[in-house]
C-alpha cells in the first residue's frame, strides 16, 4: 500500500469538489430542504400533519441526503470517467494497486456523505423549528450509525457506478434510486407499514430502511424504530456486500 499515492488521489478529488462547491451544495441540499419545507412547515402549519411529524421527518431526510450524496459522488464520476472521457486511465496507471483507487473513491464519497448528513441536521432544524425534539442519548451509537450509513452510500455508489452503462443512467434513477427512496422508510417509520404486512417484510431488503431507522433510533428514539442491533447488523451486511461487489466490478472494468 502506497500512502503517498492514496493521499494524492484523495487530494485530487477534494480539489475537484472544491472547484464544484456551489453546484455540489445545491445538489445536496435543494431537494431535501424543499421537502422539509413543504412537509414539515406547510403541511404541519396548515394542520394536515401533526407537529410530531417534524421530528419524525428529520432523521429520514438526513438518511436520504447521505445516501443520495454518497451514491452520486462515487457513481457519477465513475460512469463518466470509465466510459466516456476515460480520464480515470491516468489514475489507473498511478503506482498503486487498482483496487485502492476504488477504495479511495469510497472514502471520498463517504466523507462527502458525512458532511451532507451533518449539515442537514442544523439546516432542517432551523427550517422546522419550533417543535423539533431531538434526543441524542447515545452519541457514540449515532456516530457509528452515521459512519456505516456513509460507507453504505459510497459502497453502493461504487457497485452501481461500475455496473451501469452510461446510456442507462436515467434508468438507474427511475428503476433503482426512486423505489429505494420511497420504500426506504425515509418519510415514515418502518412500523407505519404494519397494515401492509407483506410490504413490511419486503422492504427489509432495502438498505435505506436500516439507514433511516438507525438515525431515527438514535436522534428521535421516542418514536418507534427497528432495534439498534438489527440496524447495525443490516448496515454492516450491506456495507460489506456492496464493497465486495463494487470492487469486483471495478477490477473487471479497470482491465480489459
Amino acid at each position: 500500500m502506497n500512502w503517498k499515492t492514496f493521499m494524492a488521489l484523495l487530494a485530487r478529488d477534494a480539489h475537484v469538489a472544491r472547484r464544484n462547491f456551489v453546484p455540489l451544495v445545491l445538489q445536496t441540499f435543494l431537494q431535501p430542504m424543499m421537502f422539509v419545507f413543504i412537509f414539515g412547515r406547510v403541511m404541519v402549519s396548515s394542520g394536515y400533519m401533526t407537529t410530531a411529524y417534524k421530528s419524525l421527518l428529520l432523521p429520514g431526510i438526513m438518511a436520504l441526503s447521505m445516501i443520495f450524496t454518497g451514491v452520486w459522488a462515487v457513481a457519477m464520476p465513475l460512469i463518466g470517467e470509465f466510459q466516456f472521457t476515460r480520464e480515470i486511465e491516468d489514475r489507473l496507471l498511478a503506482p498503486i494497486e487498482n483496487s485502492w483507487l476504488a477504495i479511495e473513491k469510497v472514502f471520498f464519497g463517504a466523507a462527502q456523505a458525512i458532511v451532507a448528513g451533518l449539515a442537514v441536521i442544523p439546516a432542517a432544524w432551523l427550517l422546522l423549528r419550533p417543535g423539533v425534539e431531538l434526543n441524542l442519548s447515545s452519541p457514540l451509537t449515532f456516530a457509528g450509525i452515521t459512519l456505516l450509513v456513509a460507507f453504505l452510500s459510497a459502497c453502493g455508489g461504487l457497485a452501481l457506478g461500475c455496473s451501469i452503462d452510461q446510456a442507462k443512467i436515467g434508468l438507474m434513477f427511475s428503476m433503482v434510486l426512486t423505489p429505494l427512496i420511497f420504500f426506504g422508510c425515509t418519510y415514515y417509520p418502518w412500523s407505519a407499514l404494519a397494515n401492509f404486512p407483506i410490504l413490511q417484510k419486503v422492504v427489509l431488503v432495502n438498505p435505506l430502511v436500516y439507514a433511516s431507522e438507525g438515525l431515527r433510533g438514535t436522534l428521535v428514539p421516542q418514536f418507534p424504530h427497528l432495534p439498534i442491533l438489527v440496524v447495525l447488523l443490516g448496515l454492516l451486511i450491506f456495507d460489506v456486500l456492496f464493497l465486495l461487489v463494487g470492487l469486483r466490478q471495478f477490477r473487471k472494468k479497470a482491465v480489459t
Partner: protein, 340 residues
Amino acid sequence: MTLAGIRTRELRKVYTSAPPLAAGGGFSFRRKDSNPSREIVALDGLSLDVVPGEIFGLLGPNGAGKSTTVGILTTRVRPTGGQAWIGDYDVWVQQVEVKRLIGVVAQRPNLDFSLTAREILLFHGAYFGLDSQTRSARAAELLERFKLTDRANQLARGFSGGMMQRLSIARAMMHDPQVLFLDEPSAGLDPQTRLLLWEIVREYNQSGKTILLTTHNMEEADALCQRLAIIDHGSMIAFGTPAELKASVPGGFLLRLRFGAHSPELFERLKLLSGVREVRVNSDADGDNGADVYADRGGSLVSEIATLAAGTSTELSDVHILEPSLENLFLHHTGRSLRE
C-alpha cells in the same frame, strides 16, 4: 537508477467481446458473449526484445495489434497467454513496480477534464510521490517545452486535439519514467508540432530512456526508431533497423503496374529485364491485371516495360513507382498497403 528494457514472450490476446477502441475502453453491461465464433485474435504469439535505451517502433496498419501490445505492457489489457516484462518485473505479477517505471500516452486523449493543464501535471507528479517543489519545477519546464505555458491555467476540457496530445505527452514524462510508451503519438498533430515531438522524443531518449512507439506512419518510424517490428494480424512479419528492413526488400524499388489485358507471357518477360528481382502478379477476377515489380532501379525501367508490353500487344495502363521504403516492405510481405 537501472535502465529498463521491454520483453515479451509468445504474447497472445483473444477478445471474446468487441476489442476496445485503442485497447482500454468501451465497456458494456451486457453479458460477455462466450460464443467462440465471435473470438477475435488480436495478438498471436508476439515475442519482442526492446533493449534498454533504444527507440523501438511497432509499425503496422490499424487493427494489427499495436495498441493491444501497448495495453498489455502497461497493465491495462490482460493477456490471454504469454508473458511480458518491463525491466526485471513481470507486468502481470508486479504491476505496481511496473507502473512506477512506465509513462504512457494512449491513442485517445484521456486527460483529467476537471483540472487545468498545470494541475494535470502537478497531480500526476503527486501520484508518483514527487515532492511539491520538484512537481512545480518540472511542470513549468514541461509546459514550456510543449508550448503550453500560456494555457497552463485553463481547463484541459477546452483544448484542441493537438494541445491535448501535447499535454498527454508532457504528463507521461512528468515522473521521468524509464520506459515511455507512445501509442500513435503524432496522430492529429500538424507537421510543425510533429517535428517538435520528434525532437523531444530523441532528446528524452538521449538521457538513457527506452521508448516504444506505435505508428502506421512509415516516415515517422524511419525518422525516429532505431529498431522496428512490423506487425500484421497480431504477428511479427519483419524485424530490424529501418535500413536493414528497407534493404531486405528485393531491389528496393517497387513498380506497381497495371495492364489492359492479362498476359502470362509478358509477366515472364518482365522477370528477365535487367535489375528486376521479383515479379508478383496480382490479377483478379474483375479483370484487374496488375503486377508488382521489385527492382533495383525505378524510372529507367518504365520505357523498357512499355516496349515489352507493346511487343505482346498489351496496353500498359498505369505505372506507380515507389522509392525504397518501409511501405514497400509491408507490401512485399502482405500484398497490402499500410494505409489500406
